[in-house]
């Protein structure tokens, strides 16, 4: 009986000790541009990636998905040179919009969306 109690208690402690894995699906989305723009984003290895994107229409959507731990920095910035163009950037965490920003016919042509994956 003594060992049964020990076993039960051990199980209780172990069960409560096992923290859930805090993984999150992060998605970067860039859309709304009608001409070439550049993007910088942090990938799943925390490397800053720079790419050029040439959309066919304003409805085109550039998307990058990866799995992230709680607390990791999420970052995407875009720069477009065509003052007639526009750009909308979004960061989604587990399918929900975490942060977004857009520029429409803005001569600045630069925008950044960033933050950290919230702790659950």
């Amino acid at each position: 009986m003594k060992y049964l109690i020990f076993l039960f208690t051990g199980l209780i402690i172990l069960a409560s000790s096992c923290s859930k894995t805090d993984k999150n699906q992060v998605s970067y989305i860039a859309t709304g541009a009608i001409s070439e723009f550049s993007l910088q984003y942090l990938n799943q290895n925390n490397e800053l990636i720079k790419i050029e994107v040439t959309p066919q229409s304003a409805q085109d959507e550039w998307k990058y998905n990866y799995i992230s731990d709680d607390g990791e920095i999420v970052y995407i910035s875009g720069n477009y040179r065509d003052i007639n163009s526009s750009l909308k950037l979004m960061i989604l965490i587990d399918g929900k919009v975490y942060k977004q920003a857009s520029n429409e016919a803005d001569t600045l042509g630069y925008l950044t969306v960033s933050g950290t994956v919230p702790y659950n």
């Binding site: 049964l4 109690i5 039960f8 208690t9 209780i12 402690i13 409560s16 950044t112 960033s114 950290t116």
Partner: protein
């Protein structure tokens, strides 16, 4: 999960009750034959059945029994003569009163930490295992802070930093098991020593007020020894299991632990697993206070009795802290991984002149990570600080009988290492610029000390003298802070210092008659500056909103303290103890503003940069008074009251207008900051069913603190009174349950030592009404 957890506990409880239902228990009390005071921690064993237990802090015990007529009770305690007690003349309904005689060759009191001798003149507070177990508190600092004239600086969910008689931070030594030290990582002391120890592993706490206990290292304002469970030896092989489960509402969470220990007369072991997890809480006014924490640990120990009287013990502890919120700081603890390794040898079986030889080694290793990700400022700058802190040391003590007393000669060594950086990402900038800053740069402090202590403890007159010398050296790589573009903000290459410090203490106590005792103690305790005071590089680590800069050439400060105490102890009227103290501190470590022309602040929102300096002097004085009705009564009333005030005779206050410093003024007799106000506590309890069921009401009355430091822009705090209630039920020696309500009237209040919520002047409120329960099972 919560329902399964409750169900399993109920099953567990019922199982224990069924197991215990058929047993008979013998109840008794053990007292000192000369002083009539209860003796705690007496090992009590039955020779036939081999059942064993220990007496509690009131000297009470109960032990499972099969056949009373055949049994002999064997009582042993390190400071008393072993006694065998035949039970054949007693009934199981009798309460047995046993008196033990003190050993003539008594071991030095502090070698067996937690088993202090009442004849010593020092002001010593003891927190027993029972008191620790019955509390809902999970933070050791919080438990210590409930003692008279002790407070705790609270910045978040855990890591409450004790303030003893107005002394704080490195002015108070907190150690484990008679010498093990832990250097926390956080510059804002998120993780002081006590936060690295799981409360479920504690067996008792001893607090030495004043600079009197000198054998463990330099002692300035007080010493707190946290004694953890260690492997114990048994006459025949056995295993024991202890389970602790506590849960509470409001600050919703639990503390849980299991300990298995056992062994025989030559080898023993212990292993424990603990997990504590708490959420946010609701204050008395309905505000939600971010205060969640999660920590768990594993502790294992081995003991070897090489030959009779020669014991070697080894232990290792690994703990993990995760996502601990610090509402009053600019960052939260993201993770804290700590390892503590201890090895000790205790030899007692030499000859008539050598009482004891003790040698111990330890190493503690802290990897502390914190960030600002839960702060609004992280929208533009994400900052993560990673600190590595180590403390390695050892102690040797030889205790000898000489001139009708005993002398202890010894030495100790401590090496502290600290290194860490803060990494910053400007997350709204193109190209995601990042850079790092030194917080500590390979900073090291070494302290080598030798000490001697002589004591004679008598029934009428006792006295003790002690002295120690410390050689303290410190070094660091250059203190350097650069701008992101590489330009220098601050640089100091003059980082080496060394000091030779001398401390001494003495005291005597005089037992005037059976009931009255007076004591006097005096001491001069010198401590060298700590890591923060020497090497912190531009961080806001103080009470006030300034960046702080370490001063490697800061001198040691010295506390000269005088204590008087009077104790009355009488079976009819109860016990009264009073003490008053006066401290005169020279080379007091304070702070001064650094002109902006020399260095500019680097933290958003601070007013300027301060650095540490020695000032001529400061004074502290105060008193403690405690009264208990006689322990023999079923009803018990306890009362205590304490007060401390501290004065800086000549302080400098800075005049601030619209967030800028526009001048300074001299303040005469400025109160020292962060000193708790006058506080009184009253407890009423009544024992039912032979002390098995004890309800208790506690009224805690804390006065307003209006004596606040002008130089530190300290805020006043209103007074408050709260009502707490608890019921302790001891079913038998194997099962205890307690249930309680803290802040029964849901009063909205905060302690004076709670820091303000970061970025605001809002107080860090304490929890409102809170229900809790604890189950303690020992098999």
């Amino acid at each position: 999960m919560k329902k399964v957890f409750i169900l399993l506990n109920v099953v567990l409880l019922i199982s224990i009750q069924m197991l215990s239902a058929q047993n008979i228990y013998l109840v008794g009390k053990i007292t000192d034959s000369s002083t009539n005071k209860p003796i705690s921690n007496v090992n009590i064993k039955l020779n036939k059945s081999n059942y064993s237990t220990t007496s509690n802090n009131l000297g009470n015990f109960d032990i499972k029994l099969n056949n009373i007529s055949e049994e002999v009770l064997i009582l042993s305690h390190v400071g008393y003569k072993k006694k065998e007690f035949k039970l054949n003349h007693y009934n199981t309904t009798d309460t047995i009163h046993i008196k033990l005689s003190a050993l003539t060759l008594k071991l030095s009191e502090v070698e067996i930490m937690g088993q202090t001798d009442d004849r010593l003149p020092y002001s010593i507070a003891k927190i027993s295992l029972k008191k620790i177990e019955e509390s809902n508190l999970s933070d050791i600092g919080n438990i210590i802070a409930r003692e008279p004239n002790i407070g705790g600086i609270k910045k978040g969910a855990t890591g409450i930093d004790p303030v003893i008689r107005g002394f704080k931070y490195s002015q108070v030594v907190v150690q484990l098991n008679g010498g093990t030290r832990i250097e926390g990582g956080c510059p804002n002391r998120m993780d002081p020593t006590a936060s690295h120890v799981n409360i479920n592993d504690l067996s008792n706490i001893t607090i030495y007020k004043g600079p009197f206990a000198l054998k463990y290292g330099a002692n300035f304002g007080g010493l707190v020894n946290l004694e953890t469970f260690s492997p114990q030896f048994y006459s025949s092989f056995q295993n024991n299991i202890s389970v602790f489960i506590g849960a509470q509402t409001n600050h919703t969470g639990y503390k849980s632990g299991i300990r298995i220990d056992g062994g025989d007369s030559s080898i023993s072991y212990s292993i424990s697993l603990n997990k504590n997890k708490f959420g946010n809480y609701i204050a008395g006014n309905g505000d939600i206070i971010n205060s969640s924490s999660d920590n768990y640990n594993i502790n294992a120990g081995l003991g070897f009795k090489v030959t009779n009287g020669h014991v070697i013990k080894l232990s290792a502890d690994k703990s993990w802290g995760r996502n601990v919120y610090f509402t009053a700081l600019p960052m939260d603890e993201r993770k804290d991984d700590t390892e503590i390794y201890e090895a000790s040898y205790t030899g007692t079986n030499f000859n008539n002149s050598i009482n004891l030889i003790k040698a111990s080694l330890y190493h503690s290793n802290v990897n502390h990570e914190m960030d600002n990700k839960n702060r609004p400022f992280s929208d533009t700058v994400v900052a993560i600080s990673k600190i590595h802190a180590m403390n390695t040391g050892g102690r040797l003590a030889i205790n000898l009988n000489i001139f009708n007393g005993n002398i202890e000669l010894g030495g100790n060594f401590e090496h502290i290492y600290k290194d860490g950086k803060r990494y910053k990402w400007l997350i709204m900038q193109p190209n995601l610029p990042s850079f790092n800053e030194n917080i500590w740069s390979n900073a090291q402090i070494n302290n080598l000390g030798i000490n001697a202590e002589y004591q004679q403890l008598g029934d009428i007159f006792s006295w003790i003298v002690a002295a120690r010398t410390d050689f303290n050296t410190a070094t660091s790589n250059p203190m350097l802070r650069l701008k992101p573009n590489g330009a220098s903000v601050y640089e100091n290459t003059d980082t080496e210092s060394s000091y030779l410090n001398f401390s001494f203490s003495g005291g005597s106590s005089w037992q005037l008659n059976e009931s009255n005792k007076i004591s006097i103690s005096f001491g001069k305790g010198t401590r060298s500056p700590d890591m923060i005071e020497r090497y912190i590089i531009l961080l806001p680590v103080g009470y006030d909103p300034y960046d702080y800069l370490g001063n490697p050439q800061l001198k040691p400060e010295t506390n000269h303290e005088l204590d008087f105490s009077y104790n009355f102890n009488n079976d009819r009227f109860g016990s009264l103890s009073t003490s008053i103290f006066f401290s005169y501190v020279t080379q007091y470590i304070s702070t001064v503003l650094v002109p902006p022309s020399q260095v500019k602040p680097q933290t958003k929102g601070v007013l300027g940069v301060k650095t540490f300096i020695n000032i001529d002097e400061a004074y502290l004085t105060g008193f403690e008074i405690a009264y208990n009705t006689p322990q023999k009564n079923r009803w018990l009333i306890q009362f205590n009251s304490a007060y401390t005030m501290g004065i800086n005779p000549s302080a400098t206050a800075y005049i601030i207008e619209n967030g800028d410093i526009i001048g300074e003024e001299n303040v005469k007799n400025d109160p020292l900051p962060e000193i708790p106000p006058f506080e009184s506590n009253l407890w009423f309890s009544y024992s039912f069913f032979n002390k098995k069921l004890i309800p208790e009401i506690n009224i805690r009355m804390v006065a307003a603190q209006n004596l606040v430091s002008v130089a530190y822009n300290e805020d006043t705090t209103p007074g408050f009174t709260i009502l707490n209630f608890k019921i302790n039920y001891t079913y038998n020696s194997q099962l205890q349950i307690n249930f309680g309500v803290n802040n029964l009237l849901n009063i909205n209040y905060y302690e004076h030592l709670n820091r303000r919520i970061i970025g605001t002047n809002s107080p860090f409120l304490e929890p409102g009404r809170l229900f809790y329960t604890n189950f303690i099972i020992k098999l």
